[in-house]
Symmetry: C2
Subunit: 111 residues, 2 copies
């Protein structure tokens, strides 16, 4: 039977590819809006094996589409586009939930 | 700064206590509605160390309230009440996303 439900721990760790066909990274976690009961955005981790090379980008949940054949998520954005937006380097204490300041990349912060 | 966002991987594994103060279990995962971008329900795992003793119950997200002091989730239900509803034993292939059949415990299936 078909339905639209997906387990959170199956989303975490899934690969994400951009519209240019290149791999962007993997979904590290989802940020959830506790009160609204909604998925605010996915945190996509990019980069290499070393922590210093890794970045974490917010990607709007609705922009992620699961490709059931490839078993990956596809999105309309690209890694280059994400690099122009907000990110978090490993070790930085960026408050992902803080929306009190304007973001440079509002497309991926819209809930 | 305060906000209402919580990371999915901080929710997974969190303890859940019932209104009687007794521990129900831990949040195993969240079931997400892909299209709506909402949290359908949490799957709460109860029971012991042996797989055969463990049960998995659906608990509505809105009924879970995070107690920031105890760092646990509290809910209005109890383990006894959950036992009267749908569950899944480890190893069974219960389709949690299937809503085509009526549930005996509708309170915790409402989205």
């Amino acid at each position: 039977m078909t339905h639209t439900l997906v387990p959170s721990d199956h989303v975490e760790g899934a690969a994400v590819y951009g519209r240019d066909g290149k791999r962007i990274g993997t979904i590290e976690r989802l940020m959830l809006d506790k009160r609204r009961g909604t998925i605010a955005y996915a945190v996509v981790q990019t980069g290499g094996l070393l922590a210093i090379e890794r970045h974490h980008y917010p990607v709007e949940w609705s922009s992620l589409h699961f490709n059931a054949v490839r078993r990956v998520y596809e999105t309309d954005t690209t890694l280059d586009a994400l690099r122009g937006g907000p990110s978090e380097l490993d070790g930085e204490e960026f408050d992902w939930g803080d929306r009190s300041t304007p973001y440079r990349h509002p497309q991926y912060w819209t809930v």
